[in-house]
């Protein structure tokens, strides 16, 4: 149905006429030790078909048993999304034939999810807060992984054969479904990205998922429809499947808005269907038709008893919840006294937690920021890794800072010490010792160097004598150069002024 390359309007053109309505289904893989319904390990990246039990293969006679930790994780996610938790909920079978689903049905939840009717406040870059209503979060199992061989583009169509890895089959999933999100307007793509980022952050913060999108721990299906300005009823939606990076979520929503607008403008109805996202071209292509009446023949899973919760259990889990990420950010910014811009940079650089730990260890927020946003981020950027990865730790910052404060080293030397530590030469103190980096604190060698510097720049010396104290920097620089940076610049300045008989 869809042409090879779909017509699109520009985003601005689309916005002139239409309001987008969004909806998201985000699948979160839990990091439980074992699978949702079996005792097989839940682990990523192992040799195919090694983390399987008879239950995961759906062998004749097997029965599922619910993973209690997964239920607790589901409740925690529900609570973090401000949902109500069902007192009693059932699993249901979603019946469809597909070779990645060993039983040819997926054990999921249908009419009564474990968590329902919540919301999440999403803060956009400029501080605008947008409330997204959560319809439900339910428990289910992941499918196996198919690899289609010999065909074009890794698709099942045209493949010569397909390989199935059931290691992922039965991994616990929580599917989080939003209500239709209206009123985002031109900010819809930005909101889409921010929403998925917020979900990812929450599940990571809860400790219930590794939340690595590149591993498929968090997967997003994005629903988009358009309606002309002023119209109440929703337009026909498309569902773009498995958009698996934050950037892609933003791009896919933007693209679908532009494509829908072009289709609607041409007077053609939107086909209700799934769409595939292509990162390389940043476009979507038609998937399969999807009607609201897709018949999965859901019925209550007779092999499982209902999950029954109670207030005491829920409140215990609620008490265990960590501080929500958004609130934590607000608290830390206030505590540290950073400007909005400074704080945003810290967050974007991914060093907020490192700074928090460093401050907790006794370093001032300003100094901690200088380190993490300065030297450490710079090194990380050069190595193209996370700032936490070059090996810098809050403890290291504490030690470096103590050496500076005691006057043993100065700022410049501290960079060399950091290099030494990161190169594996030992603790900061050991590096100072081994590299001979201590500040020269004996006035004798310093005075010698000062005299040399004054002699080399007599015109500057005259200026200072004449009252231009600010010119002292040039002499300090000369002294520092002569001492290979190992002098305390403050002391050098004092001694120069003394030498020239000038008041500092």
């Amino acid at each position: 149905m869809s042409a090879l390359t779909d017509e699109v309007l520009t985003f601005d053109e689309a916005m002139e006429k239409y309001d987008p309505v969004l909806g998201f289904e985000v699948h979160v893989e839990l990091n439980t030790r074992t699978k949702m319904f079996s005792a097989a390990p839940n682990a990523f990246g192992d040799i195919p078909n090694t983390n399987v039990s008879p239950v995961d293969l759906g062998l004749p006679g097997v029965l599922p048993v619910v993973n209690g930790t997964a239920v607790e994780s589901a409740i925690k996610i529900g609570l973090a999304l401000n949902c109500s938790i069902a007192e009693k909920c059932y699993f249901a079978r979603k019946n469809y034939f597909y070779p990645d689903t060993p039983k040819n049905f997926q054990t999921s939840q249908f009419e009564d999810p474990i968590a329902h009717d919540g919301y999440l406040d999403i803060e956009l870059a400029d501080g605008t807060v947008f409330r997204v209503e959560i319809e439900r979060a339910h428990m289910e199992e992941d499918a196996g992984k198919l690899t289609h061989m010999g065909g074009a583009a890794g698709r099942i169509q045209g493949a010569e054969f397909s390989l199935v890895d059931y290691n992922r089959a039965g991994v616990p999933l929580i599917e989080i479904v939003t209500k239709p999100i209206e009123g985002a307007g031109a900010r819809a793509p930005e909101l889409a990205k921010a929403y998925v980022a917020a979900i990812r952050e929450i599940v990571k913060n809860l400790g219930v998922s590794d939340a690595r999108m590149e591993r498929g721990n968090v997967r997003c299906d994005a629903n988009v429809s358009l309606r002309p300005h002023g119209r109440e009823t929703f337009g026909t939606r498309t569902e773009t499947k498995n958009v698996n990076s934050l950037r892609a979520v933003e791009h896919a929503v933007r693209y679908e808005i532009q494509r829908h607008a072009a289709v609607l403008d041409s007077g053609t109805p939107i086909l209700q269907e799934t769409r595939h996202w292509h990162e390389d071209t940043r476009t979507t292509t038609s998937g399969r038709p999807k009607s609201d009446a897709d018949d999965y023949r859901y019925f209550p899973e007779p092999d499982l008893v209902p999950v029954v919760t109670n207030d005491a259990w829920i409140e215990k889990l609620r008490a265990e919840l960590p501080e929500p990420p958004a609130e934590r950010r607000k608290r830390l910014q206030a505590d540290w006294g950073y400007s909005d811009a400074e704080f945003r940079d810290v967050v974007n650089a991914g060093v907020m937690s490192s700074i928090e730990d460093t401050v907790t260890a006794g370093v001032s927020a300003a100094v901690a920021r200088t380190w993490w946003m300065g030297e450490i981020s710079r090194r990380a950027k050069l190595a193209d890794v996370d700032p936490a990865e070059p090996g810098a730790s809050p403890a290291l910052i504490v030690e470096l800072n103590a050496l500076i404060e005691s006057g043993k080293i100065n700022d410049k030397l501290s960079r060399d010490v950091l290099d030494g530590v990161l190169a594996g030469e030992g603790t900061p103190a050991e590096v100072v010792e081994q590299r001979g980096l201590a500040v020269v604190s004996d006035d004798g060698p310093l005075l010698e160097a000062i005299d040399g510097a004054l002699a080399a720049q007599p015109d500057v010396a005259d200026k200072i004598r004449g009252g231009k104290v600010q010119a002292v920097g040039a002499i300090v620089g000369g002294v520092m150069k002569a001492t290979r940076g190992q002098a305390d610049a403050g002391r050098v300045r004092e001694l120069i002024l003394q030498r020239l008989g000038v008041e500092g």
Partner: protein, 505 residues
């Protein structure tokens, strides 16, 4: 050796314990009997000769060493081929699993192994336990030892016939709508469907998960109690398994008691549609119980009349989903059709070739009943009926401690007689289905021979959930009263089975 195979499991166990007979002798006697008559009966799909003798020899050695053994150690047993066993094929009576071997043991099989009971082999059944005559087995029908032209009941006809023909002292069956009790009744054996959740279903190939239950098949009430205690109890691998301990069932069977008990006759499970000879024997049993001091009361379960219809919606619905896994992708039969072998075509061809007509019929029924637009009218309504049946039972058990009815409306019918009339076949389970719909336990025992055809009649006892012991308490008394009236076990009156060997193996 003839005498040895005629011993009850309890008597055999005692002789084994007293070292009057060895486990190898007992096991060999049964293997010899299977060899002699199973060509005629076709009760077994697989005979496990080597392993059974090995286990028996180990038991004998252990006993010689003075080890403490389970009371049933060395007593052989047959296992319905719906229950998975390591080291033996499991077919579920279907071509789609031909040659498949399970890499794991069902929980009940683990328990048999722990008790060191030699497993004689796997018994025939209607394909995936779908049927009331064992005629729907892909491996040929099992025949009734009383009359080889008649059905042995189903789906567990193989287990019942094996026990009735002295090819095993004990067997495991599964009961979804009566598949232990009805074939128990038809060839004159004892069969028990425990309370739902009383015996782990892990490793029993599912037909309808909310109805299936594994239970014992034997020649005496006490033997069923002995086996029930071996296989019962909580299993963490079955979420629907009860946490209660299995209970003192053997003690209940040994003591027996009906005095002062209220025994409720279910008004709706007699009369029209029931064979005259069946009702005559049924009323005799009521008289015997009354004479032994039981109070016979009449109870009404008005919603039982909808049970069959509701059952034939719930069971196929669950079965249609449970049988989806047989697709040729991971195990069992795979049929690759001519031409482009897409996954859809391989799945379709495999299922077309691997499933028999009755299985296909139920998959189609269930798929339809669960379909959007029909779900509420069919599956939803059936679940409501189920609730009503449960309420009927609750009300009836207010008035009676145990309920009683004929197990099946008729005696064994002829092979092929109802094969083309599924509805007539389904009607055979009218008296047994309500217990599955409510999860309550039921026991069937032989009630004598119908006058018109000289074939066994079954009497069914039903108790409230978790009160399985009551079945054994009442069943043992009734059995003893009946045997007194016959001057011995009913099976002693059965004709000799013609010796035809080696037809199916």
């Amino acid at each position: 050796m003839t005498e040895l195979i005629h011993l009850s499991a309890d008597a055999l166990a005692q002789q084994l314990a007293a070292k009057q007979v060895s486990a190898v002798e007992a096991t060999q006697a049964y293997l010899d009997r299977i060899d002699a008559v199973d060509g005629a009966v076709n009760a077994y799909l697989h005979v496990n000769t080597e392993e059974a003798l090995l286990v028996a020899a180990e038991v004998d050695q252990a006993r010689a060493d003075g080890d403490t053994l389970h009371p049933l150690a060395g007593v052989p047993i047959a296992v319905k081929d719906l229950i998975v066993t390591k080291g033996q094929p499991t077919t579920a009576g279907s071509r789609i699993l031909e040659g498949w071997q399970s890499p794991y043991d069902a929980t009940v099989v683990q328990k048999l192994r722990a008790a060191r009971m030699p497993i004689l082999g796997k018994t025939n059944l209607d394909e995936f336990a779908m049927g009331s005559s064992t005629e729907h087995s892909a491996y040929g029908p099992t025949r009734n030892p009383w009359d080889l032209d008649r059905i042995p009941g189903g789906s567990g006809g193989g287990s019942a016939a094996a026990v009735a023909a002295f090819e095993a002292p004990l067997a495991l069956g599964t009961d979804t709508g009566g598949a232990i009790r009805q074939p128990g009744a038809v060839p004159g054996t004892v069969g028990v469907k425990p309370t739902y959740g009383g015996v782990s279903r892990y490793g029993a190939i599912a037909m309808a998960s909310s109805l299936d239950q594994i239970g014992p098949v034997s020649r005496t009430v006490l033997d069923s109690a002995l086996l029930h205690e071996v296989i019962g109890g909580h299993d963490p691998r079955d979420s629907t398994s009860l946490t209660d301990p299995v209970g003192a069932l053997v003690e209940a069977a040994r003591l027996g008691q009906v005095e002062g008990m209220r025994i409720g006759v279910i008004k709706e499970l007699q009369g029209e549609g029931y064979q005259a000879g069946v009702l005559t024997r049924f009323h005799e049993s009521l008289e015997l119980l009354r004479s032994a001091g039981a109070e016979i009361v009449e109870v009404s379960c008005p919603n039982f009349r909808y049970a069959l219809e509701a059952y034939y919606l719930i069971m196929p619905s669950e079965a249609s989903s449970n049988l989806a896994k047989y697709d040729g992708v991971r195990f069992g039969l795979r049929v690759v059709p001519e031409g482009a072998a897409t996954i859809e075509r391989v799945m379709g061809a495999t299922r077309a070739a691997g499933f028999g007509d009755e299985v296909k019929r139920r998959i189609i029924l269930g798929t339809y009943a669960l379909s959007a637009g029909y779900y509420d009218a069919y599956y939803g309504s059936a679940q409501k009926v189920r609730t009503l049946i449960q309420r009927d039972f609750a009300a009836a058990f207010e008035q009676a401690d145990v309920l009683i009815s004929p197990t099946a409306p008729t005696t064994a019918f002829k092979l092929g007689e109802k094969l083309d009339d599924p509805l007539a076949m389904y009607l055979n389970d009218v008296a047994t289905i309500p217990a599955n719909m409510a999860g309550v336990p039921g026991l069937s025992l032989p009630g004598g021979l119908a006058d018109e055809d000289g074939l066994p009649v079954g009497i069914q006892l039903l108790a409230p959930a978790r009160e399985d012991a009551r079945l054994y308490r009442v069943g043992a008394v009734l059995e003893s009263l009946l045997e007194d009236s016959w001057g011995g076990p009913l099976l002693a009156q059965a004709p000799a089975v013609p010796q035809i060997t080696g037809r199916n193996r």
